[in-house]
């Protein structure tokens, strides 16, 4: 038990030196280590310490389903018309989460089914389940019902795309080191340290930025507008800035072009009115399409629609061939810049809602760090003093272990790229208190064994041996609650659990193995007949 071969002593010291060395970068201010020109592992500070914003965004799954249904509706309409023979359909409806339509000629039912099979795609994933169920009702009506598997996959894809869009938008804001992670099936966690203006971020993320250009349906009567019943193939949309005074307008359902075909969007000032506006550039395909449609529809108005709201409905005075267009409306410089960013980064496939937010000002974070360091230092000092007056030399060994443990925890945390949060600091201080528990157990046991009349060597040996089992069991219970906290806790609590778990592991190493080595070395050197414990 007290026999420590040279290699063992060497490897214990080596481990300690390496882990403590890993702690060094975290203890030096970032701006100094940055100058060294090498990237060193260091502890990340959580938002509650660094200041910044945490946002939990949630997508509405129903929204994804509705969008998908709408897309399928358009696809069905074009597909039935596009191929020869043309299949005439009517009474198309997307109520109740299903798409149903009537065939004018029931004899075409097989042909229609064939085409539906082609556009509803193959199977989903490995199981080959279909994305849509196709049913024939009364031999002339076709009903498309989304399958659960198809919907799940659609949500998954939408969330993947949405995460990318969120990342691009945040990058455009020029913030440093944002963290953007998908969580669960329909959530995204965004953490932006040191952000001064969370409002701008939220405004930006709240925009779906679905841009569409649609022709205005001039045949709609004021009555139809008022009752929101558009003529077939059209829809009524909100138009808050309508010069006619009615905040509604009817537009064709089918978009002539949409935001997916943009190559750039910039804020600029109008040359005529000097007001902020957004200049957009289509990609080559979009540009050609836009030129063709504007050529065909000269002197007709078209609507520029953002997130299902008409921003403006200018007249096409002449074909627009340069692939460029301006969106003007009542913009401010800020709102035009934001729209430009949103358009550049692509539209969100699904609207995101902020369901949880917390923002910590930078002053509070700095204060918390200062308070945390002070509390840790005082805690170490108190514990060290107490251990010394209680156990003398053995207390000093335990104290070495405590101090080394502090650095080792920092080192391990830096090594695994962990994040230190405010509760993490609490975990740190708590670990300082509990780390000596192992030494208390050992030392008390040695005291006992001495009382029972055992020799120094025997007492020390037995103390370590008997206490080790207890230490293992006691730490296991700590670890169980730590693991549960880690698995179920969110943000700050997770930070606490990480520090606690690391602390449990390192304190067993420093408090048991390391002090045993020191004690064994001392006993071998001096061979004391009696010990003061």
């Amino acid at each position: 038990m007290l026999d420590f071969p040279r290699w063992k002593v060497a490897s214990i010291w080596l481990t300690i030196v390496v882990l403590c060395a890993l702690a060094i970068p975290s203890l030096i201010p970032q701006r100094i280590t940055d100058q060294w020109g090498v990237s060193l592992p260091r502890i990340n500070l959580g938002l509650d310490l660094a200041g910044g914003s945490y946002l939990l965004l949630e997508a509405d799954v129903n929204d994804v389903a509705a969008n998908r249904l709408e897309a399928m509706r358009e696809q069905v309409q074009t597909e039935m018309r596009r191929q020869n023979p043309r299949i005439e359909i009517g009474d198309i409806s997307s109520r109740g989460g299903r798409l149903s339509f009537l065939l004018r000629d029931p004899s075409q039912v097989d042909a229609a089914r064939e085409r539906l099979l082609a556009i509803t795609g193959g199977g989903v994933g490995m199981t080959g389940q279909r994305e849509w169920d196709i049913q024939v009702v009364d031999s002339s009506r076709l009903v498309l019902t989304p399958t659960q598997a198809g919907l799940t996959q659609a949500v998954d894809t939408a969330m993947g795309d949405a995460t990318e869009v969120v990342r691009r938008r945040i990058d455009e804001l020029g913030t440093r080191e944002p963290t953007i992670i998908r969580q669960g099936s329909n959530r995204i966690v965004v953490q932006v340290p040191g952000l001064q203006n969370p409002q701008a971020l939220k405004d930006l993320l709240g925009k779906t930025a679905k841009l569409e250009f649609k022709l205005v349906d001039e045949s709609a009567t004021p009555q139809q507008l008022a009752s929101k019943q558009a003529p077939a193939g059209s829809q009524v949309l909100a138009y808050p800035n309508n010069p006619s005074g009615i905040p509604l307008i009817a537009v064709k359902r089918t978009a002539i072009i949409n935001g997916d075909q943009l190559s750039d969007a910039r804020m600029e000032f109008s040359q005529q009115t000097n007001e902020p506006q957004v200049a957009i550039t289509f990609d080559s395909q979009g540009g050609r399409k836009f030129a063709r449609v504007t050529q065909e529809n000269v002197n007709k108005p078209f609507a520029i629609i953002l997130d299902n709201q008409v921003i403006s409905a200018p007249n096409i005075n002449e074909p627009i061939t340069g692939g460029r267009a301006q969106i003007s409306g009542s913009f401010t410089t800020d709102s035009a810049t934001q729209l430009a960013i949103a358009l550049r980064s692509g539209k969100l496939p699904v609207a995101l809602k902020v369901v949880e937010e917390s923002t910590v000002g930078p002053d509070l974070g700095e204060e918390s760090i200062r308070a945390g360091i002070l509390a840790s230092a005082v805690a170490v000092a108190l514990v060290v003093a107490f251990m010394f007056v209680t156990y003398g030399r053995f207390g000093v060994y335990a104290n070495f272990a405590v101090v080394i443990n502090v650095f080792v925890i920092v080192g391990v945390l830096a090594l695994i790229g962990g994040t230190l949060t405010l509760p993490g600091i609490a975990g740190f201080v708590l670990t300082i208190g509990t780390a000596v528990d192992a030494n208390v157990l050992i030392n008390e046991r040695i005291r006992e064994e001495r009382h029972r009349g055992r020799s120094v060597i025997q007492a020390v040996e037995l103390g370590y041996k008997e206490a080790s089992r207890t230490i293992f069991e006691a730490n296991m219970t700590h670890a169980i609650s730590g693991v549960i906290m880690f698995l179920l806790g969110s943000g700050p609590v997770k930070g606490f659990a990480v520090v606690l778990l690391i602390g449990i592991a390192t304190s067993v190493f420093t408090a048991v193995l390391f002090t045993r080595m020191l004690t064994a070395g001392w006993l071998r050197r001096t061979k004391p007949k009696t010990i003061n414990i």
Partner: protein, 323 residues
């Protein structure tokens, strides 16, 4: 150098004899804790209740009534103000804003901040958080799940490593500690938030840690003194481990004390919960769980398969302390 001994050598307190008294006291306290929690309820933090929380720092301690008037004038629902450590730092809690979308909440935060910085020049915001009802519901569920899992996990661990009586008494001790903590939070109306759940889980881990040390000694003494009465074994074991129990509690309390006074106001509730838990946990390890073992009828000769080799080697070779 004379070393400090918090618990004198050969301390021999008849803990078991006092257990009737302790059980009675524990029962009364537990009933009280349940009653208070039921009557007063817990002051749930924004993460469990949903809503919005703004923490502001003022250059001088503000007049609370005036501040309340300023916030109430915004028409955002009933505001509750809470002082946070020093008198210059205050939190303002508001219910979930109607309209439910983030726009309403954002507008509310902005409105309050503008109004406060107009009425109290120099006031700055420290932090704020908003949580929707849905998320707060999930947080509550996860919190409860975590505590239940921890209790079951540790109880299971105790049953696997020891006899079943240890598992049952362990769970009883945890429940006791939980009730006391809840009662404390209901009584003081300290904010009960997500961090407190973490503190509670830590308390569970710690309290059991303490208990396991004693259980371990009971098991060891059961093997060592096969003829001894169970109550004597429990008494001996608790007394033998008493120096350690006290020492460890003191070191942890020293560390937590530093955190309580110097660690900043954000962690204060968390630290207070933990300190309470340590005290309660120490009590429950000595009284609730160890004494419960006797009531549960733990027999003095353990099942052979749970006797380890080292236990047999040591058995009956050395006289107990103080004999």
């Amino acid at each position: 150098m004379r070393l400090l001994k918090l618990v004198p050598d050969n301390t021999n307190i008849d803990f078991v004899r006092l257990r009737g008294l302790a059980f009675g006291l524990t029962l009364i306290l537990s009933v009280l804790a349940i009653g208070i929690t039921y009557a007063k309820g817990l002051n749930f933090g924004v993460d469990f209740e949903g809503g919005l929380m703004i923490e502001e720092r003022f250059p001088t301690p503000p007049d609370l009534n005036r501040l309340r008037q300023v916030v109430d004038a915004q028409g955002l629902g009933e505001a509750s103000l809470q002082q946070f450590g020093d008198p210059r730092t205050l939190t303002i809690r508001l219910p979930i804003q109607q309209g439910a979308d983030e726009g309403a909440t954002n507008a509310a935060v902005k409105k309050v901040e503008t109004a406060i910085s107009q009425a109290f020049p120099g006031a700055t915001f420290n932090r704020y958080s908003t949580i929707s009802g849905k998320v707060s519901g999930e947080l509550i569920r996860n919190g409860i799940l975590a505590v239940v899992l921890a209790v079951l996990g540790i109880g299971l661990f105790a049953i696997v490593r020891f006899e079943w009586q240890f598992g049952v008494s362990t769970i009883a001790a945890i429940v006791h500690d939980l009730l006391m903590t809840l009662g404390f939070f209901a009584l003081t109306q300290f904010e009960f938030d997500l961090n407190i759940v973490a503190a509670v889980l830590t308390i569970i881990g710690y309290s059991i840690n303490d208990k396991i040390v004693i259980d371990d000694r009971i098991r060891e003494n059961m093997r060592r003194y096969r003829k001894m009465e169970m109550r004597e074994i429990v008494n001996l074991s608790v007394n033998e481990t008493l120096p350690r129990t006290v020492m460890t509690s003191v070191t942890i309390l020293l560390a937590l004390g530093a955190l309580l006074f110097l660690g900043g106001h954000v962690l204060r509730g968390f630290t207070a919960a933990m300190i309470l838990g340590i005290v309660v946990g120490t009590y429950s390890s000595i009284y609730v769980s160890s004494s419960l073992l006797i009531t549960l009828g733990l027999r003095a000769n353990p099942t052979p398969e749970k006797v380890t080799r080292s236990g047999i080697e040591n058995a009956e070779r050395v006289a107990p302390r103080g004999e």
